[in-house]
Symmetry: C2
Subunit: 329 residues, 2 copies
């Protein structure tokens, strides 16, 4: 393997000079830069990122914390898009990524987790789908030993940025559209996870709408579960005009219930997962660009690792009407 040493020799300069050129440090003449770059090209030199990570705490390795299946039981593409978006962007930015799952650290303490991350020379992490109950990760964030970006939770400190869509407005928008299209007055709203950060935001959005339009609303907790949403709809759906759900999967559950009861009510979802195209009904939902959000998260992490302070980033969303796709039903 060709190393920085070979490049230095080939270019007739010192190792440290090569390193300076590679990292765009000042105090290198234009002439030397050209010499070094020529040598780099001729030898097809690629810097060893492991060595870089070892010698410098800055050269970044980042860990992705994915909360597998919690929201939708592995039948959606959300996690995959998160991973893909993050990794692709990381490659652009020359960052090293390792992927971890919440479940791997279930019975570990936060100290153990910290040590593990340090033993991997990890200096930055991205957390997807953090629950309020997850003490370990909250502690990790609070201690600020790592640069951190939290996706879908509003946590910001000097070393932590957060990124999400405006859930409150998105829920308001999609619900308003559905209510107006169907002239509804009595809403059944099925919430997500009790301790999810997005749950509260979305509820706020609903309350905004109810207040503004003078509607009535019954709120029930569906825990992002298809089955629970079905049961709730069975029980309360009949004398409501519309069922609004905080996730597509729960919307599917609601649809099932309505079909079983043989009544029609408009249903409204949230997320825009591909599965929706397969259940054979139309509904309004909020489409999030998960890969894009994740790529942006990686970018934000990069800023943090460069010394920028934590901040809040809001990403755009779009309202869509999932199409009936000629699926068998």
């Amino acid at each position: 393997m060709v190393s920085i040493k070979d490049v230095a020799r080939h270019a007739g300069v010192a190792i440290s000079t090569v390193s300076k050129v590679l990292n765009n440090y000042p105090n290198v003449s234009e002439e030397t830069k050209i010499k070094v770059n020529k040598a780099v090209d001729e030898l097809n030199f690629v810097p060893n990122s492991v060595a870089a990570a070892l010698s410098s705490k800055k050269a970044g390795r980042v860990a992705l914390f994915v909360n597998l299946n919690v929201q939708t039981q592995a039948i959606d593409e959300i996690d995959m898009q998160y991973i893909q978006g993050a990794i692709t962007k990381a490659m652009e930015l020359n960052l090293d990524v390792i992927t971890l799952f919440f479940s791997m650290f279930k019975d570990r303490t936060s100290e153990e987790l910290t040590r593990y991350l340090q033993s991997q020379s990890i200096t930055g992490i991205i957390i997807y789908g953090l629950s309020k109950e997850d003490k370990i990760l909250h502690k990790l964030i609070d201690e600020q030993k790592f640069k951190c970006v939290v996706v879908d939770a509003p946590i910001v400190n000097e070393n932590t940025s957060s990124i999400w869509i405006d859930n409150r407005k998105a829920q308001y928008d999609v619900a308003k559209k559905t209510v107006e299209e169907n002239n509804c007055r009595r809403i059944l709203y099925i919430q997500g996870k009790k301790n999810g950060y997005v749950t509260e935001e979305r509820l706020q959005g609903m309350e905004d709408l109810v207040k503004e339009m003078g509607l009535t609303m019954l709120v029930r907790k569906g825990e992002f579960s298809e089955l629970q949403a079905r049961n709730i709809t069975m029980r309360y759906g009949k004398n409501k005009d519309v069922v609004i759900c905080a996730s597509d999967l729960m919307a599917i559950g609601a649809m099932k219930a309505l079909t079983e009861m043989d009544i029609f009510r408009p249903v409204c979802g949230f997320d825009g997962i591909v599965l929706m195209g397969y259940v054979g009904k139309q509904m309004n939902t909020v489409r999030q660009d998960f890969a894009g959000i994740s790529a942006k998260a990686m970018e934000e992490l990069h800023y943090l690792m460069d010394g920028a302070p934590g901040r809040n980033v809001t990403m755009p969303y779009t309202l869509v009407r999932m199409k009936y796709m000629d699926i068998i039903c």
Copy 2:
């Protein structure tokens, strides 16, 4: 961060001795081992895997090559289960994993890919869903510069193991079951990707069955595409008794076509993806334990990295009848 140096000092021995204890090398007395382990515990020492990877080519970093979406356009959970199975097992085995996507290296040469992997100190790779057309990865495998496990393709050499289910037998089994249940004689078989390794195996299985039972079979290429399967079924399905598909997603396409034509024919799939539970019909399919297969792949890679020669591993599968899950339709 506490390093091996601290442990050595604390235990009153040399650094090299600590390393020997940690790696279970011989020529260390029981007494010393105990001293060292005590120090390790007391200091909560966790070895830095980055440093280990730098100094030893043996200490393993492995890369996962995931062929995103090719087969089923991101609506199934297969890739996610692959990743999860591999990473979880890697953690057990103390291996470092980075995840990569085929698409990231689309316009790169195999030399560039090799250099990239070496620059990451990667010594082992797992490849999922290799196509016969992928020259770059085939070259990578042939050159044997890395230890490699290929999932779903029968490639074995001194440094390469392969792992898959017995696709020939699985296709035979599931087709036979379907044919017997419905008393069919004329089969429409929709194949997968032209250049997929599993495609040939599964076709063999079908030919075995046709020969054994004296059936007739029309074979068409569906490229694992739902739409193509639909079109093929529209065109040829009418005067056949059954539509057998090399993937669940194509089976869904076939079902759509049959519904559109308003005729009934049994359909049979392959993979057992969760989505099948949402389309509202029953059918036979072959369930693969993707996470388990991937974990096994990681294990095999570990053997290879320990110096074992490449070999072929066959994993079990099960026939299932995907249930109608009270889904709206």
